[in-house]
């Protein structure tokens, strides 16, 4: 077992983990943060996307021991007492989900897209979401939601690093 200390959604955790534990399993099984889901288990689908030190990663493709001393933000860390995160709000408004399984990863990656391209073109949105699969093929409304979030009041605050401050 290896001791790790990680900040997840603004709270600090110290745990003993087996080195082979994937970050997504640490989040779900040790911390109970089941909002982050396992989709494909092959690093293709992006459903398990979280932010590591403010940048999106696939949490099935990172070992928990690799994030020792680092900061992770999951879908569960986005909403505040004031309400949903603007990206969550926009997905809701634009009905950017069908079955909803890809949604946690889509939202986390969509925020990363806006951090990279604050005023994205449709192509930048689509390329930015290249690593996230929606098997309902509901992509059009997802792209609309991201474009609308970029124009929403407070869009500049669409940054996971602000979460939990």
């Amino acid at each position: 077992m290896t001791r790790i200390t990680v900040t997840v959604d603004g709270a600090k955790y110290s745990d003993d983990v087996e080195p082979r534990t994937l970050l997504v399993h640490y989040l779900r099984e040790t911390l109970g943060k089941v909002g982050t889901v396992v989709g494909c288990d092959t690093s293709n689908c992006g459903a398990c996307t979280v932010h590591l030190d403010g940048r999106s990663v696939k949490s099935c493709n990172v070992l928990a021991v690799q994030v020792d001393g680092h900061e992770v933000t999951t879908i569960e860390g986005l909403a505040t007492e004031a309400g949903l995160h603007p990206m969550q709000e926009s997905f809701h408004e634009h009905h950017a989900l069908q079955c909803g399984y890809c949604t946690p990863g889509m939202i986390m990656q969509a925020i990363d897209v806006l951090n990279t391209h604050p005023d994205p073109t449709e192509e930048q949105i689509r390329l930015g979401l290249e690593g996230n699969l929606c098997r309902c093929t509901g992509y059009h409304n997802i792209v609309k939601a991201v474009a609308a979030a970029a124009k929403a009041p407070g869009a500049a605050a669409v940054s996971s690093s602000k979460v939990g401050d």
Partner: protein, 282 residues
């Protein structure tokens, strides 16, 4: 699935990493960004007893200028390479090819050194590194040595990095002012190249004076399209198709579910023509 059990070490210096590697012997596996290794471990295609994580080694990450060369630390991420002003200015081909690797999440974790040593023939970074005449800096128990890219890729998933050695940096001669383009052919988003062509071109007043072309997935290692490079010298940048028709000469592409070898040979000529035209245009 989850990987089988392994012991994990996270050295903080190249010396300590080499010592850990020596101690582990055949049972050790080096972890760079992990974007190819972790899927392999999860599918249990490999089950090392010890994983040596380079993620905490000082000095393996970052991009700097050294005279006529750009030096990229092996643990520099794809995202850092693709967005580096130094790389974009002096080795535009590598910046453009790196921007085509996998997807954003993978590019945030995956590293240039990891991808190069993994040496997947369908990986996108061998061809540009080869085309740019890069040099690989390898550290081992006996000190440091440098291997030219043309001697680095030895076979399928095999490189000149020997047992007990680590790739520490990639040195790229500056190609300032050269046009560049990476033409990647895939059928599905964020997948491995079926064929890819990395082209960088020095053009003056619409005439190509020098061209360097690397091919992805046209054999067990990245390849140079030497006959095309020779044919392009002195050609008008607006008429490159004939010169590119020999792009598949000397290649030995695989046949698989994505296409047979003849299909890949045809693709190589078409994609080379497109890549060179785009590179010559800027």
């Amino acid at each position: 699935m989850i990987p089988s059990s392994f012991e994990y070490v996270a050295p903080t210096s190249v010396e300590d990493a080499l010592a850990a590697l020596a101690e582990a012997g055949d049972e050790g596996k080096v972890l760079a960004g992990g974007q190819s290794l972790l899927p392999v471990l999860r599918m249990r295609l490999n089950a090392p007893e010890k994983v040596i994580d380079l993620g905490r080694v000082e000095g393996l990450r970052g991009i700097r200028e050294d005279g006529d060369t750009i030096v990229i630390g092996a643990m520099t991420t794809h995202d850092e390479v693709a967005n580096s002003e130094l790389v974009k200015e002096h080795a535009a081909l590598l910046a453009k090819a790196t921007a085509e690797v996998a997807d954003p999440q993978i590019r945030h974790r995956g590293t240039l050194g990891g991808a190069i040593v993994h040496a997947d023939p369908a990986g996108d970074l061998g061809a540009p590194v080869l085309a740019l005449d890069a040099e690989m800096v390898i550290a081992g128990p006996g000190g440091e040595r440098t291997v030219a890219a043309k001697d680095f890729f030895t076979d399928l998933f095999e490189t000149a990095v020997g047992d007990g050695e680590l790739l520490t940096a990639i040195r790229i001669p500056k190609h300032t002012g050269w046009g560049a383009h990476y033409e990647k052919f895939v059928r599905v988003a964020h997948q491995w190249s079926i064929v890819g062509v990395a082209a960088t071109v020095k053009a003056d007043g619409g005439t190509i004076s020098e061209a360097k072309i690397g091919l992805t997935n046209m054999g067990s290692t990245p390849l140079r399209a030497a006959s095309v490079e020779a044919a392009l010298a002195g050609k008008s940048a607006s008429d490159v198709a004939d010169a590119c028709s020999s792009a598949a000469d000397g290649t030995n592409p695989p046949s698989d579910l994505n296409g047979d070898a003849d299909y890949r040979r045809h693709l190589a000529t078409v994609l080379t023509s497109r890549a060179v035209a785009a590179a010559a245009a800027g």
